[in-house]
């Protein structure tokens, strides 16, 4: 029996009440006539809702036209072996080192399905609220290209493993915020092709088959997006999802997450879609946003000049340098892939037990996390930040489990901790501070044991060299005393309290970071944390933070 998730109503009432101050209305109204403002929200819940952001500078001027955007996303799964043979895949391996007769398409070889691929596909299907095909099959998609060893790609055609789902997205606050639900048409399993390496002279090309046969999930969205930021946020949410699920690293630079975007424009009120253009070569979400908005403007301009016949069904490449899209190839008629059922592979039959087990094992997904954080009373900015990265979310959740106040924990994580991570180029999983100690720190401040200021100092020590809040507080007490009566606390643990020594360290750090110093003096005072961290590092964690910060504060302001 298939697990079917019904597509719900786009937005719930809570959503509306929460977003007071933000106006919702139908896209048509928003784009065409301002007098329609505020109308018809209640009876058009099923329509696409668009939030009118207070600042819309980045959105293209669409003058009575609307853009229709659909996205095909390829997610490379990080299974140990390829989809149909036992070759490993490691990004960046020397060309043609992870290949075998099967993924090279030698005569007589046969594909054998890696069961992990099915498992990952089911997980993603469930996470995207899709209906699962309890019996699906593989098909062959035919075309000739040197990176396609067999002359066909093993894919799924008419019975994909998952269909008819949706994904919930919260737009970034700086883009006006707002909640969206985008439809998912289908998710299917397929294999990747190899890569061509073209020589600089263009006189020859080399084929690297390392990637051939690596499992992919293709996610096809409904044409529900209307702007670059919506499309970028959709893709970002897919990335979060696959990372939360642990099925892909979702890395766009390595090509583990690739988006092909279809953009068309039509006059508002017209039901027929305009000619669609496919855009490729966007290596970041921000590039996606800009590429799509550029393409919308380009098409709107042609429309408004009566030149809509100059919009061709074609593939265009986004060029980062020019910030424009350029024609890559015009479609010469429709490609006929001559799909037919793959006779070398049996049908994929899911059992209810298998699906139930995977369903129970699903982690909390980004959307659920955001709604939970939101209910805690966190601001949307906090919510989006914390739920953006599963490791950050895990850290946050773990500190909450130890009783930390959500708002305070969020502040610490988003403020000093994230600044530290950024400076040190570390991920939250790599720092010495544990969620437990963060909760201890918060509790100690809250119950008045230490001041916020002291707390901050302790935090830096925890980040830099670990330890417990309890022991550090005890040390602080000694340190406070030692300011007056310098003593050696313990032979193996020397705190540098000598202001001259610390001052020397501070000078050294300031001299080494003139750029940051300049920024600080230009008003970016949050950089103090960075400098403190650097000095602490310089002292090998032994500088007394209080003394350090006092001296640093003075030095930074250039008062001495």
């Amino acid at each position: 029996m298939a697990l079917i998730f019904h597509r719900g109503i786009i937005a719930n009432s809570q959503f509306f009440s929460r977003s007071s101050g933000v106006l919702f209305r139908r896209l048509r109204a928003s784009r065409s006539c301002t007098s329609a403002r505020g109308e018809g929200t209640a009876n058009t819940l099923k329509e696409e809702l668009i939030q009118v952001a207070p600042k819309r500078a980045l959105e293209p001027n669409t003058h009575g036209f609307e853009a229709i955007i659909g996205i095909e996303t390829h997610v490379q799964l990080f299974t140990l072996t390829k989809a149909f043979c036992s070759c490993p895949y490691v990004y960046g391996s020397r060309p043609n080192t992870t290949i075998c007769p099967v993924c090279m398409g030698h005569p007589g070889t046969l594909p054998v399905l890696n069961s992990k691929v099915v498992e990952f596909a089911v997980k993603l299907g469930l996470a995207l609220n899709c209906g699962l095909s309890m019996t699906s099959k593989f098909d062959r998609k035919h075309y000739f290209y040197p990176d396609l060893p067999k002359g066909y790609q093993i894919s799924q055609f008419d019975i994909p493993i998952a269909t008819k789902g949706f994904i919930d997205v919260d737009l970034p606050v700086e883009f006006g915020g707002g909640h969206r639900r985008f439809g998912i048409t289908r998710v299917h399993m397929e294999e990747d092709a190899g890569k061509l390496l073209h020589s600089e002279t263009g006189s020859y090309s080399q084929v690297d088959l390392n990637r051939a046969g690596v499992p992919l999930l293709e996610i096809v969205s409904e044409p529900d997006m209307r702007s670059g930021i919506e499309a970028a946020e959709y893709a970002a949410e897919i990335q979060r999802l696959v990372r939360f699920l642990g099925i892909s690293n979702g890395n766009m630079q390595e090509g583990s997450l690739r988006c092909d975007v279809n953009v068309s424009v039509r006059p508002i009120g017209q039901s027929k879609f305009g000619t669609k253009v496919e855009i490729k070569n966007m290596n970041s979400f921000s590039a996606m946003n800009r590429a799509i908005d550029y393409e919308i403007s380009r098409q709107v301009l042609l429309h408004s000049q009566g030149q809509s016949d100059q919009i061709f069904q074609e593939t265009r490449l986004w060029e980062e340098g020019a910030q424009k899209t350029f024609t890559m190839r015009k479609k010469e008629g429709l490609a006929d892939y001559r799909y037919f059922p793959e006779p070398d592979l049996p049908e994929v039959v899911l059992t209810k037990e298998f699906v139930d087990k995977l369903c129970q094992g699903l982690p909390e997904l980004p959307e659920a996390k955001r709604r939970r954080y939101e209910k805690m009373g966190l601001t949307m900015q906090d919510v989006l930040f914390l739920a953006n990265d599963n490791h950050v979310a895990e850290f946050f959740d773990a500190s909450l489990e130890n009783g930390a106040d959500p708002k305070l924990a969020a502040n610490w994580i988003m403020g000093d901790i994230s600044a530290f991570l950024k400076n040190e180029r570390l991920s939250i999983t790599e720092i010495k501070l544990t969620p437990f100690e963060l909760s201890e720190l918060i509790a100690s401040i809250k119950n008045g044991t230490i001041s916020g200021k002291i707390g901050k100092e302790i935090l830096f020590e925890l980040l830099a060299k670990g330890g417990t809040v309890q022991s550090l507080i005890e040390e602080k007490d000694l340190v406070q005393a030692s300011l007056i009566f310098p003593v050696r606390k313990a032979s193996e643990f020397i705190i540098i309290v000598d202001p001259a020594a610390i001052e020397a360290l501070v000078d050294k750090v300031l001299a080494a970071n003139p750029k940051q110093l300049e920024q600080y003096r230009a008003g970016k005072t949050r950089l103090q944390g960075f400098f403190a961290g650097q000095v602490m590092k310089e002292s090998k964690g032994k500088a007394n933070p209080l003394v350090l910060n006092q001296i640093l504060g003075v030095k930074l302001k250039g008062e001495s």
Binding site: P107, G108, T109, P111, R338, F340, D344
Partner: protein
């Protein structure tokens, strides 16, 4: 209708002797049921081996009963008894191969290491270690079955010189059982054809009349066994490519159930129909080979996990041999296969074979498979469709012949134009057409529906009957060149066999008679079809049939 072969009730006594005793006098006597298997091997070995070297040519009309012997068992026995060495046996086969090959041309490649491997077997014998069931047995392998380090071209110029980096699972299993691959046998390019005339390299001749085709596509494998160039051979059967040449060459040909033998290493023609099968001079030899190559393979998801019974050991037992050993067996003669368009000589041979089955105790009933005639068009649509896809990989990019060009489209176009033969190109075109948008439903999908009907009609018939019988081919072997320009006539010759592939069923072809032609007559094979995974039953019936069939001896005049 010519009279059926002479049958004498006294011959039925001979059915006790399921092993070859055609020279030594004691073979004329029924063996006691208590006689040990080993002793019988002992007797048979002597006779079989001497038969190989010194048998005078016996015309098919000779009334002496000479049931086919197991060459595998006689080789085994002579090795175990140290009567002969594997090198001896190999030398004998190689000599004959060299002598006959200029006329027959059944091999595309003859191994250079055969003698060395035979000596290796002899060392194993000398050391007293256990011998595999095929120790010292020379096996011919159809050229579309991959053999590591040995050329494997599938009969196509596009793979000229290609040496696979791995052994097909079936070949690996043969080698593990001690077999020696003597060479690669000729075939119609990628299995597409019924004569071997479609080979990209050479035409094989029928050992019964070298002006005639050996059948195809596994013509080289059938001719090689018929001419005793090798002991047994592997073929592949997509639409009859084992059974039809077996019939033409007067050897036993077995097409197992789809999935019984791993296809890993078999160059795909039509993946949903392709099966690796085998040829032998006797049913026992085919059974022993099937035993070795059968079973699930983790490299082929379509291979079956169905248990593999010991096909050969079942045939050892003489306990089931009575005066009517097939008593109670319900045999259905497929009405559609013995009517219009079928050679009268073939029909009479098949009817005679049916009478023989009756004498063995079986009851023969005519059955009708109404969807039978639909099989041929459905087969050609499905097989061509799958072929158009499977052969896409021969593009000259990674292996095989590559045209010298400076542009990508020509790389594909020229490599394929130069490397592939006309029959292959025609089927790729047909298949590409059948799978094209707008035609898929009318051709591919419709053909799949026909396939479902055929499967069902066989299932229904095999619920009422134990086995079905028919000719393997509507005619005996025809002249080389006779049908080259008439592909439809050639395709029509597959009518008896393609339905079985569409239904995925096992079928055994056993020589059953002759029709006029050549210097010594041309053999005719009886096709026995069973339900899925009933190879054991087919082999048992085929074995009894073969060992009791009077008057015929299927040794071609060439030898």
């Amino acid at each position: 209708m010519p009279p059926p072969p002479v049958r004498s009730p006294s011959r039925l006594l001979l059915c006790h002797c399921r092993l070859p005793f055609h020279i030594s006098p004691q073979t004329r006597l029924p063996l006691s049921h208590n006689s040990s298997v080993r002793r019988r091997f002992h007797c048979s070995a002597v006779s079989a081996v001497s038969a190989l070297s010194s048998d005078p040519q016996i015309a098919p009309t000779d009334l002496t009963t000479t049931p086919p012997s197991s060459h595998i068992l006689s080789i085994r026995e002579s090795l175990l008894s140290r009567r002969r060495t594997a090198a001896d046996v190999a030398g004998e086969y190689l000599d004959r191969l060299r002598r006959t090959e200029p006329h027959i041309r059944s091999f595309l490649h003859v191994s250079e290491t055969t003698m060395r491997e035979a000596e290796e077997v002899d060392r194993l014998v000398a050391s007293g270690k256990d011998l595999g069931p095929l120790a010292g047995v020379l096996v011919g392998v159809k050229d579309n079955i991959c053999t590591a380090g040995m050329p494997s071209t599938g009969g196509s110029r596009i793979l000229e010189g290609y040496r696979p980096p791995f052994d097909a699972t079936a070949v690996r299993k043969l080698k593990e059982a001690g077999a020696i691959v003597i060479g690669k046998t000729n075939m119609d390019e990628f299995g597409m054809g019924s004569t071997t005339e479609g080979s990209g390299f050479q035409v094989t001749a029928n050992p019964w009349d070298i002006s005639r085709v050996p059948g195809g596509s596994s013509g080289g494998s059938a001719a090689a066994v018929s001419a005793k160039q090798c002991v047994v051979s592997l073929g592949s059967d997509t639409g009859g490519s084992v059974r039809q040449p077996a019939s033409f060459c007067g050897v036993v040909g077995l097409k197992p159930t789809y999935g019984r033998v791993s296809r890993f290493g078999l160059m795909a023609y039509a993946s949903s129909l392709d099966v690796i099968g085998c040829f032998g001079a006797s049913v026992i030899d085919s059974a022993i080979v099937l035993n070795v190559v059968s079973g699930h393979d983790r490299f082929d998801s379509t291979s079956s996990t169905h248990e593999v019974p010991d096909y050969a050991s079942f045939l050892m037992s003489t306990d089931h041999f009575e005066s009517t050993p097939l008593k109670g067996l319900k045999v259905g003669m497929i009405r559609e296969t013995i009517g219009d368009g079928v050679d009268v000589g073939v029909i009479s041979s098949i009817k005679a074979a049916a009478l023989h089955l009756e004498e063995l105790g079986a009851t023969i009933t005519e059955v009708s498979l109404p969807s039978f005639s639909l099989g041929l068009p459905a087969y050609y649509v499905l097989a061509s469709s799958e072929a158009s896809s499977n052969l896409s990989r021969y593009d000259g990019v990674r292996y095989g012949n590559r045209a010298t060009v400076d542009e990508l489209n020509s790389l594909y176009g020229d490599s394929r134009a130069d490397g592939l033969g006309p029959e292959v190109k025609m089927r790729i075109l047909m298949g590409t057409y059948a799978l094209s948008a707008g035609y898929y439903d009318a051709y591919y999908k419709r053909a799949q529906q026909v396939r479902t009907l055929i499967r069902k009609s066989f299932k229904d018939a095999l619920e009422k009957m134990d086995i079905l019988v028919s000719p393997a081919v509507p005619s005996p072997a025809y002249k080389i060149g006779e049908k080259v320009n008439d592909p439809l006539a050639m395709y029509a010759g597959d009518i008896m066999t393609v339905n079985v592939n569409l239904a995925g069923l096992p079928a055994l072809v056993v020589p059953c008679g002759f029709v006029e032609g050549g210097s010594a007559g041309l053999p005719v094979g009886l096709q026995m079809i069973g339900s899925s995974f009933s190879e054991e039953k087919l082999l048992r019936i085929g074995h009894i049939f073969e060992q009791t069939l009077p008057n015929y001896r299927f040794v071609p005049p060439l030898l």
